[in-house]
Structures are given as structure tokens and as C-alpha cells.
Amino acid sequence: MSALAAAPVPGRLAKLWSATPATLKVGGAIVLAWIVLAGAAPLLSSFNPIKVDVLNMLKPPGGTYWLGADALGRDVFTRILYGARADLMMAFFGVVGPIILGTLIGLVGGYLGGRIDMVLMRLFEITVSFPYFVLVIAIVAVLGPGLKSYFISLTLVNWVSYARLVRSEALVLRNADFVLAARSMGFGHLRTMLFHVLPNALVPPAVFVMTDAVLTIVLGSSLGFLGLGVQPPTPEWGAMIAEGTNYLTSAWWISVLPGLAICSLALGLSLVADGLARLLHTGS
């Protein structure tokens, strides 16, 4: 019965730490490590990631080029470090738009129900069935290539995942006693939706977002032929993999190593997701 709230701050932190699932700690450490590596890239490598050096093309790993050099003589290690910047950014901004838009739509549809939900659900189905390429081409044509178009096209399409998750939560929550209680105390729909339904509908999207972040990186590289994603010469893992495919039989390091980087980030984020789910589900 001793009050958690009254405990002194250090004790509280320690408690929080011990309450944090191990997966969350390990996953967090991996993600954090990449953030640090990305930030400290100039300190860790003396190479310029975009400086081409035709004389050292395709140098295998070892020597000055720890992880080899790519088809333009750029140091793969350095490009992986700097690539983390673009990838972390893609992972982050690639999900921000979808999660906001999707959560709002799912929330409104699920909470208000009725005709609005009907219309939103049709919109949902249209989006799911809509060919992504058409959208990407159109957006790239209007806004030009690059990350901005990438984020916008992702937002316009990927919201459906989050809308689906949030809506199914909101559908249940809108009849939850505490939501009815909020209504009966005279709170408006907006307040009820934002402060009572929303915070309780966030666990599934918060878990999904970790996988989604990795998928956005992969998508960016898979659709590079539409002009999606970062533009050369900016290093980015997915683009590095794509660039290296022609060399897979002769210079494996160009694509395999950034591939391992993505896998490690995926691992980190998934562990965070697992831990987060456990933490949020136990409700403390």
C-alpha cells in the first residue's frame, strides 16, 4: 500500500528501470546506438561519404576501407554511418504522417460511428485497393522527387494500417463505461474523443509503428525506380542495397553490409515494440 507517488525521485526512476522489460532495454540500446553512430559519424570516420574516388572503386573490406569501397570508391563503412541519418529520418518521418492521419480517421470513424464511419470505411477500402504506384508517380511529378514526396505519398497510403487498428479499439472504447461517464459529466465529443478514447487506443498503433518504420525503409528502396526516397549521392541503406545488387557476385559488401544494418535496426525496433507492448499492456 506504500504510495508510489510519494517515493523519492531516484527510487521512482529505479522502479521504472526495473519495471522496464528487458526487450525494451536491449531494443532501445540498439536504436540508441544507431542514433549515436549517426550523430557521431564525422568523429568515427575521416572519409567523406559522398566523395567519389574512381581509383579505389570496389576495394574489398580491409585496410583503409574497413568495410570496403563501393562502385564509386566511396567508403562503405562511412556511408553506412551517414546512411543511418537518412534511414532514421525515414523511419521516423515515414510513420509520423500515417500515424497522425490514420489515428485521427480511425478515432473519428470508430468513435462517432454511423454515417461518418461508413464514409470513412469506404475511403479506407478505396485507399487499400488504390494502386500505390499511380499515387507515387503523380506526387513525384508534382512535388519533385525526394523525401518530401516520399513522406507525403506514404502518409496518403499508410494511414490505413493505423486507422484499422485505432478504429477497432475506438469501436469498443466508445461504449466503455469510462467514456460514457465522461459524456454523462457533460464533456463534449471532442474532449471525450481526445482525452478519454484516444489515449486508450494507442497501444496497438504504438506497437505496429516499430515494424512499420522498418517497412518504410524497405519500401523506399523497393520503389526507387519511381524516384522515391533520398536522391543521390546522399547515403541511405535501402538505396545502397539497390545500388549494390549488380555487384552482388563481385562485390558483395556493397549491398550485404547495409542490409545487415537494416536488419539490426529492425531487430532493435521490434524489441522496443515487444517491450512497449508488454509495458503498456500491464498497464503500469
Partner: protein, 312 residues
């Protein structure tokens, strides 16, 4: 039975969705810079020639007028002409439906097999190394792009070990089990981790469910509880997730079709989009949309069959 009333309602809901998709697609692709006639005639053609052909396809009309005619014709079963191939849309895409359909079904069949195997193995040995290993593999393989995976499989299994053909779609069904094994495997490698994570989690959750405890208290063997109770109660979330995955696959097989050179719908769509072959884009989009709607429909039917409580 009332629970199956939705079987009748669905087709009606389909209409606004298909209309919406076709209108948005039509307007968007037409507004995108690029002229299919120019692509058809090539960069060396004269302006005269281009204007002449544009008029022939009615592309000189306002977009909404064109859309109206498209709809009118579509209702009569005529989906227009492929501008790039200078021939009716039908034959251009009909041949391509079978390979894509087969590929997706085959890929799903493998995914389901892998998923069941892995998830059951993991859940039955929860916390032990099999479980941890399955989790690790599932978690870290999400980051492998399918074109990369496909290429690795080709290099390893086709060229090194000479186990499978690199490409192609064979005329008979049985042959395709062999020919399309690698592409289906690539799909499965992409899909299995997602499904397995979900199914394993549901298994673990259901193994702790009250009815499982009740089963134990009756002295039912663990195997029986898992096989007869937990298993069937765990399927629904994964079936639903599979519906979503199929939706993404239906439009997203292009990468795999490219790597394994399978003449499928995904390839047709992407080519049509890249060449602004308006009516092919339109037709393929509608076919894919129907595919997605049918998928959701099947998921709903399976849901209702699996769970007697569900009403739709």
C-alpha cells in the same frame, strides 16, 4: 441464417468503392505529366502524328468526358484500348491474371505452412531456445527487401545449386509448383515473419485463457488442449492480418514478378503506370480492387465460419 446476411450486402457496398477507385485513378494518372501517345510513337515522331493519334483515342477530350465514356463502355464490358500496345485492354491483362493469382496463392500456401510450423513450435516451447530463435528470425528478417532476397535465392539455389529455374511461368499447374517455387518462397519469406509473430502471440495469449485452464482442470492433455481449443481460438486475428497482407500483396507483387520474370499483373500495372497507358491502369486497378474486395469477403466468411459469435 442471419449471420450470413452480409453475403448479400457486400456486392452493394462494392459499387461506391469501385467507382471511387476508378475515378481517382483516372483523374490522377491523367493529370500526371506524360502522354501515352508520345511514348507509343517514340521521341522521334512528329507533332502532327501525335495529335492525329491522340484524337483517335479520344484523348483530346476533357478528362471527365473521357471518364464518362470510360464508365459507359465499362458497363458494357469494354474496358477500352491499351494505347501502348494499340489493342483492346482485355487480352493484354487477361493472360496475366493467372500467373499473379497462382503466385499469390502459392506464396500464401507456403506462408501458411511456415507460419503454422514456426508459430506452433515457438508457442509449444515458449521461452526456450526454439521460441527465441523463431522470434529473432522473424524480427530481423523484416528488413530484407524482397528484390534482394529474390536475387540471393536465384544466385544460390538456381545458379550455384541448380535446383530451380530462374524464371518463368509454365503452362500447366503442376509445372508451376516447381517453376514458381522460388518466387512463392520469396513471398513467404516476406510474409511469414509478420504472420508468425502475430500467431505466436495469440497462441501464447490463448494458452493462458480461462477455458484452457478449465481444460487442464479436467485433465485434458496439453496437446489436446492446444489442438482442439487454443489453436482454433487463435486463428482469427491471424486470418484477419492475412487479409491485410494479401491486400498489400495483390498490388505489390511487381518486385517479385520482375526478379523472377513472371508475366503478371503487377508488372503490367507498373508498366502501364510508367507509360501512362491510361486504360490499362484503369482496368488493372479495377481487377486488383476486386481481388482485394474478394479477399476481404473470404476473410469475413472464414471469420463467420470459425467463430459462431460473430455477426457481420
Amino acid at each position: 441464417m442471419d449471420r450470413f446476411a452480409f453475403l448479400l450486402k457486400r456486392p452493394i457496398q462494392l459499387i461506391p468503392v469501385l467507382l471511387g477507385i476508378s475515378l481517382i485513378t483516372f483523374v490522377l494518372i491523367q493529370l500526371t505529366p506524360g502522354d501515352p501517345v508520345r511514348i507509343m510513337l517514340g521521341p522521334k515522331a512528329s507533332e502532327d502524328a501525335i495529335a492525329f493519334v491522340r484524337a483517335r483515342y479520344g484523348l483530346d477530350q476533357p478528362i471527365l468526358v473521357q471518364y464518362f465514356y470510360f464508365l459507359l463502355n465499362a458497363i458494357r464490358g469494354d474496358f477500352g484500348q491499351s494505347i501502348i500496345y494499340r489493342s483492346p485492354v482485355g487480352p493484354v491483362i487477361l493472360d496475366r491474371m493467372a500467373p499473379t493469382l497462382f503466385l499469390i496463392l502459392y506464396g500464401l500456401a507456403l506462408s501458411v505452412a511456415f507460419t503454422l510450423g514456426l508459430a506452433i513450435a515457438a508457442a509449444r516451447s515458449r521461452g526456450r531456445w526454439v521460441d527465441q530463435f523463431v522470434r529473432l528470425v522473424c524480427v530481423s528478417s523484416v528488413g530484407i527487401p524482397s528484390y534482394f532476397m529474390g536475387l540471393m535465392l536465384i544466385l544460390g539455389l538456381c545458379l550455384k545449386l541448380k535446383l530451380f529455374p530462374v524464371s518463368g511461368y509454365a503452362p500447366t499447374l503442376i509445372d508451376n509448383l516447381y517453376h514458381l517455387f522460388l518466387p512463392a518462397l520469396t513471398i513467404a519469406i516476406g510474409v511469414t515473419p509478420i504472420l508468425t509473430r502475430n500467431l505466436r502471440a495469440t497462441f501464447l495469449q490463448q494458452m493462458d485463457a480461462d477455458y484452457a485452464t478449465a481444460g487442464r482442470s479436467k485433465g485434458l492433455p496439453e496437446r489436446y488442449i492446444f489442438g482442439r481449443h487454443v489453436f482454433w481460438n487463435s486463428l482469427l486475428p491471424t486470418v484477419n492480418l492475412m487479409g491485410v497482407v494479401v491486400s498489400f500483396l495483390i498490388g505489390g507483387t511487381v518486385v517479385i514478378e520482375n526478379v523472377f520474370n513472371i508475366p503478371g499483373l503487377g508488372q503490367a500495372l507498373i508498366r502501364a503506370v510508367l507509360t501512362r497507358d491510361y486504360f490499362v491502369v484503369q482496368a488493372v486497378t479495377l481487377v486488383l480492387a476486386c481481388g482485394i474486395v474478394i479477399t476481404n469477403f473470404i476473410v469475413d466468411v472464414v471469420t463467420v465460419v470459425l467463430d459462431p459469435r460473430v455477426k457481420l
